[in-house]
Symmetry: D2
Subunit: 396 residues, 4 copies
């Protein structure tokens, strides 16, 4: 609410697609939720001054900078929100935490376990100074996800027996789509495993309340070379364009990642991440089967959660398609009347709500950097398993 006494000054580092999503969240959250602290969109940081200024005007940030250290140095900044590529997460987050800032960091937490470990350690240390850190797995913040977790926790599906998780997209189906930095190992750190795989690891663990203890998997690169993009420089844009006979470069990250995981409680789950699943645009699917019921979710239809109650009368059993848009569902009473759909961006708004609430109450926001580290450890174990013929490999 606007009359909350205390402002919370935010600096956003980065302004790509995620920058837009986070900006929208910071702007919208206080309009629908009563926040104990009032976010102010204080500073936007980007590398290019002109583009950063344009983004700040468009999204409503008060000031801009091309130096992320300014956000850390400035005493009036309370929160550093990091949406840069993964390679810079650790450096920025460590500096911000050292300076006593609250930190929200996009997923995956870092490009390596080592970086993630350092970040988790720093976050643990920073608590004594009052700073809080959270990693941005926003799919946890959808009404369907929270409702799914609640149903599992309430015992509505009994003991979890089997998990199926997949995140399928198709943006690399065209073998002549250009090579970008996201497809080069030294820059991106990882391919579809870190990008989409991280989401399903986190969501499956969040919903079931269990953690993966070992994995066995395979990483694959289906399209192994792609046209080099035209340089933006002196060649006048002649080189590397599709259809112009340009050279091709090697794709050095995975575009399909498949693994089986065993949770600490012994339950098996399958995990599949793909950028080659033609026709699937954003199909994050989670199915959880239990001794008394089951749950199924698909991000392409994010306002629904399917629930099977194995204890219902036999002739009335079936998957119940819950439209998760009623006031009784998580987050929904702040929005529209029953039956009115939410969209992708609402997860980010809810993330701001939960993050600000945790800061205001002095409690640990979830998922913590330690949670982000654990996901990183799973990713690492999958990579190692893939390197040794898919053999079962412990996490950590």
């Amino acid at each position: 609410m606007m009359d909350a006494e205390k402002p919370l000054r935010v600096a956003l580092i980065g302004h790509g697609f995620m920058g837009a999503a986070h900006s929208q969240a910071w702007r919208v959250a206080p309009r629908f939720f009563d926040l104990a602290l009032q976010p102010r969109m204080a500073l936007l940081v980007g590398r290019d001054a002109d583009r950063t200024s344009a983004a700040a005007r468009k999204w409503g940030w008060e000031e801009t900078s091309t130096d992320w250290e300014e956000a850390v140095r400035r005493e009036d900044i309370d929160v550093v929100d990091i949406v840069t590529p993964g390679a810079s997460h650790a450096e920025i987050a460590l500096a911000a935490l050292a300076a006593g800032k609250h930190v929200l960091c996009e997923k995956p937490l870092a490009n390596t376990v080592e970086e993630a470990q350092a970040m988790a350690d720093a976050a643990a240390r920073a608590v004594s100074g009052g700073a809080r850190a959270m990693v941005g797995f926003t799919y946890r913040r959808l009404p369907a996800s929270v409702h799914a977790r609640n149903l599992v926790a309430e015992g509505a599906i009994g003991d979890v027996r089997q998990v199926r998780a997949a995140y399928l997209q198709d943006w690399l189906v065209d073998a002549d789509a250009p090579l970008s930095w996201r497809l080069e190992q030294d820059q991106a750190g990882s391919g579809v495993l870190g990008d989409l795989g991280a989401h399903i690891i986190d969501l499956a663990q969040y919903v079931t309340g269990a953690r993966l203890g070992e994995v066995a998997g395979t990483l694959e690169t289906v399209v192994e070379s792609r046209p080099l993009p035209a340089s933006s420089g002196a060649d006048g844009g002649l080189g590397g364009q599709r259809g112009t006979g340009g050279e091709r470069g090697a794709v050095t990250v995975d575009d399909v990642a498949l693994f089986t995981g065993r949770f600490g409680n012994g339950v098996l789950g399958t995990f599949e991440a793909s950028r080659m699943a033609t026709g699937r645009k954003n199909a994050l699917r989670l199915e959880v089967y239990g001794s008394r019921g089951a749950l199924a979710f698909d991000l392409e239809e994010l306002n629904f959660l399917d629930f099977y109650d194995y204890t219902a009368p036999a002739d009335r059993q079936g998957f119940t398609r819950i439209m998760v848009t009623e006031p009784v569902h998580p987050y929904v009473d702040a929005w529209w009347p029953a039956g009115h759909s939410l969209g992708y961006e609402h997860g980010f708004v809810h993330q701001v709500r939960d993050f600000v609430d945790a800061i205001a109450s002095g409690s640990q926001p979830s998922p913590s950097f330690a949670d982000g580290l654990q996901v990183q450890q799973v990713l690492d174990a999958v990579t190692r398993s893939s390197g040794k013929s898919s053999a079962w490999t412990p996490v950590q």
Copy 2:
């Protein structure tokens, strides 16, 4: 079961598409259900001797005839099963009932109320002589339909408040599909109203247990002329073929029929029948909304019934997609293990089961000819309403 003491000798009159469906039903029913009387496929009657013989060989009928009166005259025939066009239903059924035969007659019962009235009267009279008559609304015999009716009867959806029924097909979408006898009033008696409309009237009444008391509707002919088919005669097949510049003839029946009905208990329902619904192949849809729940069914997915329980916990409400293929569901335990789909023809098999059971036990099979008459009266009221500007018109 094959060792049932008494056979039940059946004569089938007609051998088109419905003849195939009925033949399959007579052949298959005793293999899956334990019938108290053992059907024998004794006599197939058709107008053309060669085609009738071919059909009898293919479908397994013992004898053939080109004279339906032979089926009525023969003392060894127990059942007359009528699948001819509607115009001949009354004549055959009246003769068969007068001769003491059990009669199964395809829907709609007749082409006019008068004929249907005579048939219902004859069926009532025939009971004293031990003969039973039934009209063939087979969609009542699907597991989903019976389960829906049971749920309504048990109060699972409370008081019925609103009904939505539609039967959508698209086989007349092509404006150059040829004119056939089915599209001429003097031969077919009715268009989509009698063909598809009759089904949704019967099914809606069956599931809700209520009867339509008045209707307000509109009959429409969207494509008003069609190419005359090539004659099979002296013109060598030159005339009327598509694309050959042949003449067109008038379509004299409706291809879209829309009406609102009020059931005797005051509930309103909408009814839509169309042969112009591009892309809908066999979409008989029924939705029933009640004070405590709802039901929805679509014939294109006939192994499913959607059920909404308004008394369930608020956060778990939704349409439950019941896969009506469990042993607890109607008819299913005679077939395959749980989860194995049934198809269109199974309704006909179940019809034989129920008809034979009624004959064996000396009880009235349902739907009776009186039920068929009532549907005919609804069709008639719709036609009259359409003729007077869609005004509300009482049924009979």
Copy 3:
């Protein structure tokens, strides 16, 4: 974009559910779309000073007033956005147009044809002074709706043959839900017909590009009395509460509205609006069948549009479930990457975009007040038809 030279100062009259939706739209639209004029959320008007101030703080309006005439009088106000109950639309809009303001008015345009006519006349007159008026049928602004209209206009489904439209909700299923002003004729003007029926009339006309010329229909009140709500006054809240034996009052508006319409081009459509459709939360469904294809849409799954191409190879025909979230789809390139869902509120954002664009370019925004009047005339014709036994009744 924030650097657009000229601001556009907006006054919002009303602050219920629609006030929240419009506020969100005014705030968000300039962040995602490049607008030629820069909206400023200048003035929020409500009857109660405290509640209006609270809403203004929450939603970010600069000033407040309890007098809507202030919005009309103030020279610095450019746009009057009306989200009050229908009874006050005409008075406010007429004054605002007379004062040269642009006007955005929620649907339905007014409670009577007479009011709507006066508003349309005033809007026509105001054009010479540069003022523009639009009525808020936001479901036109969903990517699926615009894409559907475009497909029809391109001939993708050929000639439209049949239309099916329904808007099903269930918020009045509980017969003991209290009586509110929305259920009393003298205050609300209309029941489900004006509320939900208006939406499907507009959307069906928008998508098909045709207008209803005559209608035949029935209005129904399924639950005829409801508990009187507790007064907030001296009786201490004892009266009329559910389960306390309080008195019941008469529901004087329709909760189910059913009609058949004939478009000017002769095509028939069915229209159903219900607040009694148990389990349907916001099921605005539109199906359009044409000579070469078909379209189907359901607001409960608003990111999808089903398209049937009757000219495709026969063995590959079927309804194609287009996920209308690609950059090539209407409005989508301003939002998120491919496959990321939009929600209910995005229609309002798009409405602001289109309204501001029209103002900036001096063109007529659509739907105009004349369009809103025409919808009102259809509603009126349905009401008259219902009063004369559902007979066909011309629009106007």
Copy 4:
């Protein structure tokens, strides 16, 4: 057709659930398809004389025997159809082939690779004598499966890139469902891998036209002990019944089987078979992603095939839900008019059609015993991989 000159005398060995399905197929196939040879249901063989006689009467077999060797010895028997448990497949099939009989054998072909190899060798030898052998993977015979294979073969989805196959059932969810011979290794040979896994291996290979070359997988037993069933003997049925405090025995086969496979062309696929997937009754799902499109199928909705055309106009792309019930679709023209659903048993009818056609024309029916052997080799490789920490293991 009944007037085919030559009969084909069939002996069926076994009469459980599969016996019913095969009986129905032998009875129905000649009624809908014109077969060059006329099947006669000559001999039913079972271990128990009374139960075999009852089954023969019910299903319409002319004679019975309790000795399967009678079927092999009798010169008038042309076909031996084997539906016994897997442990006896090899012995019966080898004898039948040696006697020059055509053999149809249920899947999986055998319990071990060695048995399967011997059967494939025998089948190869028998060809010279005119005998033909086929293994019964009936899901290949559904219209959707054949259409899927045809679309892949025509290039409609381009080069296959990724395969996802799962077969999910829930009949073992109840941990107190009794132990049966199907859950004991020494009798059943395999658990869910051989039962459901075999189906998805065959179907994925059939549709894609590629064969698995190596696999990496895990076999799991979720419920490790179950109540011993009551003996049928002297203890009067007191022992081991659910809830009576009876003893539990060890489940010695897998109830969840998960593996990744690499096809010979390098493509990766995931395979999951489960009897623990609560709420999934018969969910055989296959998804095939290619460079120009994709296909998806679910056996619970077997009349549909989803097809994505990546070469369609960008704004019209989506999964097209093909209702595979048109006369242009495989097998369908023999059945009902467009849009009328087929069911589970139709696959068996089509199998008889194809088997008889191959016999009549002297060609090799597909899938051959060599095909069945290859599936067995895949199953064996999965088991071996599971035993060595899920490491990649070559097939054969």
